[in-house]
Amino acid sequence: MKIVLYLHLHQPWRLARFRYVDLGSGRPYFDVARNLAIFAGIAERCYRPALTRLRDSLARFPEFRFSLSLTGTFVEQAEQAAPDVLDLLRDVVRTGRVSLVGETYYHSLAFLLPAPELHDEVELHRRMLRDQFRVRPKVLRMTELAFSDDLARFAESERFAGMLAEGWEGILGGRSANHRYCSASAPTVMLLLRNYRLSDDVGFRFSARGWNEYPLLSEKYAHWLASSPGDLLGLFMDFETFGEHHKADTGILDFLAALPGAVAQHRHLSWATVDEAVDGRPVDTISAPVTISWADQQRDLGAWLGNDLQRSAFEAAKKLGTLVTRANDPELLTMWRKLLTSDHFYYMYVGGHGADQGVHQYFSSYGSPYDAYANYMNALTDLRQRVVKRLAPVDA
């Protein structure tokens, strides 16, 4: 049984409060200082201590390996707010036992936009990984672990050997998630699936005092891993799980540090990076005619495009895309892409089932979804005005 531990590092460029009366004022959309301050805080609580522990584990356990994905917006902020975090990342990547995963640079919903936006953003991300880490990713993950037959075909056309997806009953149809599959639409693309029960035991439930397994110790967890059937175990979660979502006083960092040792107690358990895990024969094919994700109870795109606010905001952004392309101005293009980051839409989520609403509120920096929508639309409207101005310069 190979454990595929994969951790996702992402920070969005959050918008500043951009009021309706600020339209046309030239005020910046993004509050750089605030974003960097937030980043510095998370680096202190999470990135630095957790990466240090992972680096130590790599040194102590030659068997230990894992995979990471870093968004472009994360790396941009890390460069300015905590460059030592990038050094730590380079350290672990240099061991050769840490794979980096490909994705969109802006952590965007570009897969819902007309080509070639998705290709451009994935390419942008690949270039960033090459420049920063001298790595070419072999496996692709879409924003929020989105997966569909079309996306598998895209991965194939981009020459990725595999993709990550949610091990959701909807696509498994009674089969186990703990195997290597391949896409039905693009058989050269191997699929590594997230075991959401075991992943969420750490990601969501670790610090829940009401949980009947609380407290979760590494020995118990390793035992669960060892007694799982199958040959691959996908433990996919946010990197921020370690020290941010669960703060250090919950013991999560100690858990992370102790896990490789606890796993080593079980002879038939070993570790694999995603690059290693995609090598081999698939047990079966998997088809996903409709896009699935790793979010909420529904595992669909409802968290980003579930209500009319989200859809209308995304449609407006999409519509602006054609104008932005025509304007052919790199600065405007970058701003537009930063506005495509999925987090903006996530903040506009309304309602939902108890647990999900709590999760959404936790991540949002707005008082309400209406705030999030109005602020986003103001920035987008302002950008639109700038693009239109660029397209049709005023006659002198």
Binding site: Y20, V21, S312, Y370
Partner: protein
């Protein structure tokens, strides 16, 4: 183009003035305290000169800080025997203006439906809106064939006028010595006007006294209370066995400013009655509405300043000010000064029917109050499906999440919220729908039950469990 609308505005004004000053003095003018106008200009002058951080500090002292849910008042779990409540009231529909009249009417209506009996005392003559279970009593006599003899209460602008205290004293004397009341369970007084009579009556009959406070003298005068009225409030608040405040913000004031022990105060919010959904008129994102009294505490000048800020960005918008009050002349001057006379319509007092139509056609409702113990108007707008902007200090902001809550001094923020709602139809639609749901989530039946809960608490304590 700008000529015609400005003439129209002017015409409206004259009409409104005629209505304000003409005819029989109306009960609601009670609140038009003479001092309030000057104190408001004093206050707003100060506000403008303060810098932002001072203003933010001011908001944080005024606004209720959302704390983990505090149950306002618990409805009784067991059936309650039918009670007889003597309500020492003030205004009652159809002649009412503020939240107090609405609150009394809706409360009595629900109590009556539950089978309780209410004797409603008021200084004014009827006829009042017929309400099941409610009998009205007022001083003075009806004479056959002649118009009712007016009660001594004739005041139009509060304690500044001669004869004011005489009429109030005679009302209170009348209340205190009222005969012919049988099997009374509770005496319940609303606001300051009848506190002395209410206290005397409850003592004489040895029944517990409940006092509902709808606003304090500090609220009505923007922090420059008239000593006399404050005294009457303090007299009632300190002697009542239980105080009901219409918001947590108001409860805090009662505790801080009148030294009432917090354990004695319960919060029972106002509500709105579900009306058959009036079909929304074509929502073109045009009408921005203020509907309420034009008093200093209502911050209508903020509404106008925000209108002036957003008007150039929303060329189709019309800003409607519906209601009357002592601030009208100042607001007219202000709108001229801001150069938006052609964009603002002053409608004066509107009828119930006009009110429903305005709400059906409005795209945005604004309640910019500096001080607003509750703010029923905002809840009514929400119930009509109108997306609503409220000031953070209003009581209604405590129980609503599907609104934009703004600092009362933040003109840019009001302007932005108006602009956003006008500009983005999806936002308007979603907020409007959610508002309606939220406003009707808890209605008057729940509020009346909570009030009965307060009565039962007292009767329990007195050992006469109903």
């Amino acid at each position: 183009m700008t000529e015609a609308p400005s003439r129209r505005t002017k015409g409206r004004t004259r009409a409104a003035r005629v209505r304000t000053t003409g005819g029989r003095p109306k009960p609601h003018t009670r609140r038009a305290v003479g001092r309030s106008r000057e104190s408001s200009s004093r206050t707003s002058g100060k506000l403008v000169r303060r810098d932002r951080s001072q203003l933010e500090a001011l908001t944080s002292t005024l606004a209720w800080r959302r704390t983990p849910e505090e149950t306002p008042s618990t409805p009784p779990r067991v059936p309650v025997r039918k009670l007889h409540i003597v309500m020492v009231g003030w205004e009652y529909p159809p002649n009412h203006t503020g939240g107090l009249g609405v609150h009394c009417y809706e409360l009595c209506r629900e109590l009556g439906r539950m089978g309780h009996r209410i004797t409603f005392l008021t200084p004014f003559h009827g006829p009042f809106t017929e309400t099941q279970g409610v009998s009205f009593r007022w001083p003075g006599r009806r004479t056959e064939g002649e118009p009712p003899v007016p009660f001594a209460y004739q005041v139009t602008s509060g304690p500044a006028e001669p004869g004011w205290d005489t009429s109030m004293n005679s009302y209170n004397d009348w209340v205190g010595s009222l005969a012919g009341l049988k099997e009374v369970d509770v005496v319940h007084v609303h606001d300051w006007f009848g506190t002395r009579g209410g206290v005397a009556l409850s003592r004489r009959m040895r029944r517990p006294l409940v006092m509902t406070i709808h606003s304090t003298e500090y609220d009505r005068t923007l922090g420059f209370p008239g000593a006399e009225i404050r005294e009457h409030e303090a007299y009632g608040l300190q002697r009542a066995d239980r105080v009901i405040a219409v918001s947590r913000h108001l409860k805090q004031q009662v505790v801080d400013r009148y030294g009432v022990p917090p354990g004695k105060v319960r919060v029972v919010y106002n509500a709105v009655r579900p009306t058959p959904r009036l079909e929304r008129l074509r929502d073109a994102g045009v009408i921005v509405l203020y509907l309420g009294r034009l008093a200093a505490m209502k911050g209508v000048d903020t509404f106008l300043r925000a209108a002036a800020r957003v008007a150039p960005l929303a060329p189709a918008a019309t800003f409607v000010v519906a209601g009357e009050g002592p601030e009208l002349p100042r607001l007219l001057t202000l709108s001229a000064h801001l150069g938006i006379s052609d964009r603002v319509l002053f409608l004066g007092k509107v009828t119930e029917e006009e009110r429903s139509l305005l709400l059906a056609g409005a795209s945005v409702f604004v309640l910019p109050s500096v001080v607003e113990p509750f703010g029923i108007a905002a809840l009514e707008a929400m119930a009509a499906g109108v997306p609503t902007i409220v000031s953070k200090t209003s009581g209604v902001a405590e129980i609503t999440e599907n609104t934009f809550a703004v600092d009362f001094w933040d003109i840019d923020e009001f302007a932005s919220r108006i602009g956003e709602l006008l500009q983005y139809p999806e936002l308007r639609r979603l907020m409007g729908d959610a508002s309606r749901w939220e406003a009707l989530k808890a209605g008057w039946p729940e509020r009346a039950l909570e009030t009965v809960g307060v009565y039962v608490e007292l009767l329990d304590a007195a050992g006469s469990r109903p």
